[in-house]
Amino acid sequence: MTLDDLVGNIRPLLPDPVDELQVAAVLESQGVTDEGASEQYGMADVFELAQHVYARLTPVPDTAPEPPAPTRPWWADVMHGLLYLMPSAVYPAVYAVLGGPDMLRGLVFATTAGWVWGAGSSWVAHRLTGAGAGKLAARTLVLLGGGGFALALAGALLILRWYGGGVELVLFVLAQTGFQVASGILLFHRRELRLLVAMLPAALAGLMHLISGYADELVPPVLLAGVVSVSLALTAAYRTSRVSGRDPGKVPPARVLALGALPTTVYAALCAAFLLHTDVRYVMGPVDLAVGVTPLVVGMGAVEWRVHRLFDQAGGLLRRCASPALFDRAMWRLLLRELATCLLVLGGLALVLLAALRSGGALTVHGALLIDAHVVLGGAFFLGFVLIRTGGTGWATACLALVLPVDVVLVEVTAGGPARYGDVPVFLGCCAALAILLLAALRRSVGQVRHYR
């Protein structure tokens, strides 16, 4: 074999060697020895032969392939808000059975527990997926969902013991938790449409209930539709998670997973506390205050969508920018642009609500301020998501931990004051302060290129 033949044989295996030693390694792996190099090619050894082969291998231009376009359709994220809102279609029927106080207790407990538990579970599932254990992640999510149910049952029984409420309250808590568990699993697997289809009976029944002027005779069928929807969602979640076989990845121990999920869980708990501390007071209040959270719930999908888009675009910036300094500046522009987009979407939804309330003669200044506060809070949640994904979970938690007590204290102070609903401007101010704090915290991370590998 001539040297050219040898080069021809090596080229398919090593078209673009980094240096002559890599060529030597590949030559040896093909059976070329020092003796062979000497006898066949007249070289001192494989290393000398490798130098000659290396010189003959023409480097291949290193062109980075364009990354594939995001496969996730934009509407999949955006519809999350609608999905989060769907269970509320049956709340009037639940209200008719449980009454205000019991329903409120059940709703606050189930929502908070589901939110916090879901955040932790989702973190664990994503961590396992990242470790190459996607099948285990799916099974773990189901298992943790079961744990969430047990937690919900225990909490409902405690509420029952302390406040009363009957078995209906327990069933409501379990149904609400069932929806949150199922939605957590289905959204993790990107099965938004399945959740939508499952929740359609409840939504349609709730709509009929609304059209009927909340007729009492429709309460049982609406509740039945709710149960059917939750059952369908849970079945869909279980079937989606049904996977068999082992994962190739290394599974982190349970202790590591539990500890790792803790910061996210704490952050979610603080978010829930901050939001519900205000909204709970108005759920049973005047209609413009009671529905103040709606733009935030409906718009959360859009907030999640813009977070994903921000990171997609950051990948593009990383390919286009020539230096970290340029990237830093571009990233700030991008962050502010996406924050503005979130606020515009949420603001648009708020405007629709404000107009509807105004036309119904139900809008007050405090109602408008509360709706505005939720729009600002949506912006803060966007910033919180970005901060967490750029390694700032601790900072995001610290920001909330700072704002929440201030909010609680000021609300207590204003509640005793002469102005009715004086705590609404406090909440708006705290939401704005939270957004500013999160923006300040993002100064440390959002322009750092290492977060966008």
């Binding site: 390694a25 590949v26 059976g31 982190p252 121990p253 590591v256 230096s323 750092q448 590998r453």
Partner: protein, 486 residues
């Protein structure tokens, strides 16, 4: 840093521990994973009960659990995770880091004749800076990434794209972590391989004057080069990372007080990368021949045996293809492949099974899994085959030879030195040559017996555990005398 304290440092309560303390650094192999390096470590520790061993393992995230039972004199396993969450070491930013980092990058980008020395000096500066400040965040900061872009632009005429520079910065930070852990305090630091393990030895040497002994089973740098061929990574990133490994290998060879390559083959690579011949002693792996006695007879059916991990490096596809040719000549021949399948190699195993089915060898070529007593696996064959594309000085080959089974092996690493004239050595990936050698041995019982006897004799003369153990004892004693502290 996770430390598993396996047992008290002293066995007698009131007496100080006067045993020689050895730190054994074998990247992440021992005591977490199976394989030749782990077996070698286990033999070493068990073979020297008079010394106290600390195993330093470079782990993924520190959550690994030992799978080898701990010998009585293994006092501690120190786990240095490369990929877990970075431990913060003080809040202070390292002083003069920009110059240190710049010198570090320029020391190996691009590679030059002076690289090993310059790299060593840069590592030392980095080590000193890390003793009083947190270097980790600085290594992945925007400023560090910017320097990578600038240095590559100067070296290669075009800057590294930002997305690649981020990858380089991140990987360098992970790979340098062992240098920033508190240095190990022992009498001798024994590296089972070059590469990142050397950073542990360098840190101990600089902090405490601990002498460093390096054994190499395979050639770490060569294996990195081969692994990189199939890695999905931009070529320019590979070039920098392999440059780092090349520089580190050279720096480690320069710093070693003693080098103990496991074969003459390894020795060539070490010399090529700057090792000092005066400090080298080739030390072949050894086994206890009593654990692998000569087989009394032979199986009834002509059988070829493979013993080892089911792993792409073992190139079982070549063996299976060779076996199909063997079956054409020896229709009743069997191929029995003994060895564990790790989770990471499940898809490779599945590919091998598919190949067996495609070639119509189902039932005659069989994966037997892990065998409780490995000697039974060798005795189950007439011939032992090892068709690896990369090897150091494989234990399984020496064990097979000890049982008097003639080997058919590929010409990689130290394999020809082990086999000598006691078997057949053929080119790697050449299934026809493997088949010819196997057929020849299966068909000629006289040749088989003669080579089997020669193989056994060769092990008794050159590759016994006792001989190997005595050599390492002597090396440790020499190094302790030259050591700076402990």
């Amino acid at each position: 840093m996770t430390t598993y304290q396996l047992r008290p440092r002293t066995t007698t309560r009131h007496l100080p521990d006067t045993r020689t303390r050895i730190a054994l650094v074998a990247e992440g192999t021992y005591p977490f994973h199976p394989g030749g390096v782990s077996l070698w470590c286990d033999q070493l520790v068990r073979g020297m009960p008079e010394h106290a061993f600390t195993v330093v393992a470079l782990t993924v995230d520190g959550t690994e659990r030992p799978t080898w039972s701990a010998p009585a004199n293994l006092v501690e396993v120190v786990s240095l995770p490369l990929w877990g969450r970075r431990r913060r070491r003080g809040r202070r930013k390292p002083k003069g880091f920009a110059e240190i980092h710049d010198a570090f990058l320029r020391s190996f980008i691009p590679h030059a004749d002076t690289t090993a020395k310059a790299f060593l000096a840069a590592l030392r500066a980095m080590f000193d800076a890390a003793r009083s400040a947190d270097v980790g965040p600085a290594l992945v900061s925007n400023e560090a990434v910017s320097r990578i872009v600038d240095v590559t632009a100067e070296a290669y005429g075009e800057p590294l794209p930002l997305q690649d520079a981020v990858v380089v910065a991140d990987l360098l930070e992970h790979m340098l972590r062992p240098l920033f852990h508190p240095p190990i305090r022992v009498d001798v630091c024994h590296l089972a391989m070059n590469g990142l393990s050397a950073l542990v030895g360098l840190a101990a040497k600089w902090a405490h004057g601990t002498p460093m002994l390096m054994s190499e089973h395979g050639v770490y740098l060569r294996e990195r080069y081969l692994a990189a061929v199939k890695e999905e990574m931009p070529q320019r990133v590979k070039k920098i990372l392999l440059g780092f490994h090349r520089a580190l290998a050279g720096a480690a060879y320069l710093s070693c007080d003693m080098l103990a390559p496991h074969s003459g083959y390894n020795r060539r690579w070490q010399l090529r990368n700057g090792a000092d011949e005066a400090r080298m002693r080739t030390m072949y792996n050894g086994i206890d021949p009593e654990d692998f006695p000569q087989a009394a007879g032979e199986p009834d059916v002509p059988t070829i045996v493979f013993v080892g991990r089911i792993d792409p490096l073992k190139d079982l596809h070549t063996l299976i293809r060779a076996f199909r040719l063997v079956r054409a000549e020896v229709p009743d021949a069997r191929l029995r492949m003994f060895g564990p399948v790790t989770v990471a190699n499940e898809s490779y195993h599945a590919g091998c099974v598919r190949l067996v089915e495609e070639l119509g060898l189902t039932g005659s070529a069989v994966f037997e899994g892990r065998v409780p007593n490995q000697v039974d696996a060798y005795h189950a064959g007439h011939v032992v085959a090892l068709t690896s594309i990369s090897e150091g000085f494989p234990f399984s080959l020496v064990e097979a030879m000890s049982t008097g089974r003639p080997p058919v092996c590929t010409n990689v690493g130290g394999v020809p030195e082990a086999v000598g004239d006691a078997g057949f050595v053929v080119p790697p990936r050449d299934h026809e040559a493997v088949a010819r050698a196997c057929v020849r041995l299966l068909a000629d019982s006289g040749l088989r017996r003669r080579l089997g006897d020669l193989a056994r004799q060769r092990v008794l003369e050159h590759f016994t555990l006792q001989r190997w153990n005595d050599s390492y004892q002597a090396r440790y004693a020499e190094l302790v005398l030259t050591g700076g502290s402990g």
